[in-house]
Symmetry: C2
Subunit: 450 residues, 2 copies
Amino acid sequence: MATRKMRLGMSMRGIGYHPAAWRHPDVPADGTLRIDHYVRNAQTAERGLFDMIFFADGIAIREKDLPRGSLARSGFELAEMEPLTLLPALAMVTKHVGLVTTASTTYNEPYHLARKFATLDLISHGRAGWNIVTSWSDAEGRNFNRDKHLDYDTRYERAAEFVEVVKGLWDSWEPGALVYDRESGVFYDESRMHELNHVGKHFKVKGPLNVAEMPQGRPVLFQAGAAGQGRDIAAQHAEVIYAAQDTIGDAKTYYDDVKGRLARHGRDWDDLKIMPALRPVVGRTRAEAQAKFDELQELLDPMVGLARLYNEFGDLSGFDLDGQVPEPQGEPQVRSGAEHILARARRHNLTIRQLGRQLAGEGNSCVIGTAADVVDRMEEWFTGGACDGFNITPNVLPGGCDDFVELVTPELQRRGLFRTAYEGRTLRENLGLKPHVNRYEAARRAAAAE
Amino acid sequence: MATRKMRLGMSMRGIGYHPAAWRHPDVPADGTLRIDHYVRNAQTAERGLFDMIFFADGIAIREKDLPRGSLARSGFELAEMEPLTLLPALAMVTKHVGLVTTASTTYNEPYHLARKFATLDLISHGRAGWNIVTSWSDAEGRNFNRDKHLDYDTRYERAAEFVEVVKGLWDSWEPGALVYDRESGVFYDESRMHELNHVGKHFKVKGPLNVAEMPQGRPVLFQAGAAGQGRDIAAQHAEVIYAAQDTIGDAKTYYDDVKGRLARHGRDWDDLKIMPALRPVVGRTRAEAQAKFDELQELLDPMVGLARLYNEFGDLSGFDLDGQVPEPQGEPQVRSGAEHILARARRHNLTIRQLGRQLAGEGNSCVIGTAADVVDRMEEWFTGGACDGFNITPNVLPGGCDDFVELVTPELQRRGLFRTAYEGRTLRENLGLKPHVNRYEAARRAAAAE
């Protein structure tokens, strides 16, 4: 029996990650706008002892989704609840599960985010987490006074400074700063309240933050993807990475690379948990699991498949969908991605319709099988040094979450890979992360020790 | 018996509006950071059939609060929960009461606020309200890349455009746009989804909003104060004004002026409710009420009184607190405000200590007495054409809210001035406001009628 336990997150954006999820008879098509839908899934994840529920987010509807009309058929990333407003509500109907959401450093101000996540930490008694992203789509830029998104380097430079500011604001009030001394009339100890007085390239923020006493010291910091410059920011700041590798080899390489950077920032190997995405389709038998997947694939509108091919092949809606996939056009960079896909089509003799359906429906790291099959795959990665746990991205909600908790969780527990009860009171404790030490308290301790 | 009913809001920022509230033995000094404190008060307000709970907000700690040290003794506007993150939590533990918070047009982006308030409306099944403010303090500016706040004209110009954008975004999805047609595979009707494509002086926002189907059509719009240019914005946009007049004469003048502006914007007299602040200190007898007030006044630290006098008289901490109030110094504008206060001190022969305590402890529109006394005052204003209801700003929480609901609400009901059950399902319905009609739906109807 392993003593090291797997970490699990349940990705809960909307009604599931399969683009035909909304057409499934057991899925509420309007679930992205219904609080009861989110409540049910959060409570199921907590029953399954998940470390956290996790929300991806975007600040625009999808726009890249041509050919025209395909967006109206996908139901994906259109109208949904804003997750940082949703999570406080879910905090009131759960007790243990962590509450993590994405928020962009490109289109926010650090003071606002610091305040909101600190408040979520208070409301949830220590279960808040922030997934740091820089945003990338032109569509988002166009809702925030721009014609397109910020360029890559500026985004990452701004992100790094943004995170520094937020961390600084979170340390504004040392533990013990608020003394509430009714007798003497002193509400707080001025020597333990700290202005940040940050002046940088992107931000000028005086502080202090007007929130204090977060149960976790500060919320847990997440990053998704973390490629390129993101790896360095992750190695410096992130406590959890949601990764996206498809093979155990790639995952191990990534794991070792990012964990290897921690020491440079004075951090230990275990100070950062890496959790790749996993999309299990689980049944009591393999046939049942396959049937679940096939049912969804059948519901996929051909237009949604064409939209999936648009980036690489352009608009194929004028072609015979039951004919061969044409040679890609356009710039060399685009063509090279397309040729990889084309090779697959040729290898399996797929029509345009079939190729679009396959690519649109599979997503990343899809595993179709029994609970034992799914856990075999998880165990191999986990014990093989490729990850610290997984971020589950179900095809459909609530079904995908229900299935996992009913079938996969017990199998993970039977093999000693996963908890049988929450260990701690906070998300930070459940993840096995060190307590946060306020910077001023640390300095005070260091000075006292000299 | 009156058929027109009074509207009531409970102002719930922190632990009450008296600066010594936190020293009171029945007040949780750390209540501003405790979810159970907010839950209790929200549920009490709902038991008392309040139209809404209301949160003021600032995006900085108080800074003007000199002389040095006084801030550490007031406990006011320091560390507290961010209200737009708090309200979704309160939505889950209440069913009827409206959920209204302040958010600044100066330090936010319209897309974010439109999304968050729309989400709150969904979570609460139609109880969201936004109190539009422009912010004014340098302290807030310094947390958002500025050395001081924006100038008055620019703030109001930006606010007007901001509100236009938010209203436009809220109309992005016409009712019926989301068709969820599983059979045909069409998720939404493209002809009923509308990009805003706003290009103005302060904002460029493409839209559509990625939230839809708000139960209220859109959240209710509030304004606080609404002086100067604010009156025109209020007459154009606001559905409720939290006013601040101290006398019935001033209140009537204000009421008639603002209501008189509505027609210019094609609005009816009843499309805007005006609710001045009221701070009742209520007891079963007048003596009990006075004793409650005196107890708080006794707890007021002299330093907090000096801070109240700082703006007009400068730092008086070097003077004998039990001596006479000195002549004001400084610029003529400041002196004229100070002379008004000084006249009062001379009239009642008040020392520095006594004057500071009186001004700091009284606040606006304080009424001390029995439930009958308080309701007499409310009835006089309400039936006298000075208001449509009141915004209660209790000295202490939970006590001030408890007292109102236990003692004042029944007396209001006995006189037929207030509801005995919620009339509607949404805040908009309870306030007696017209349903919101989506602009595109209105145009469609108008075209069909021709």
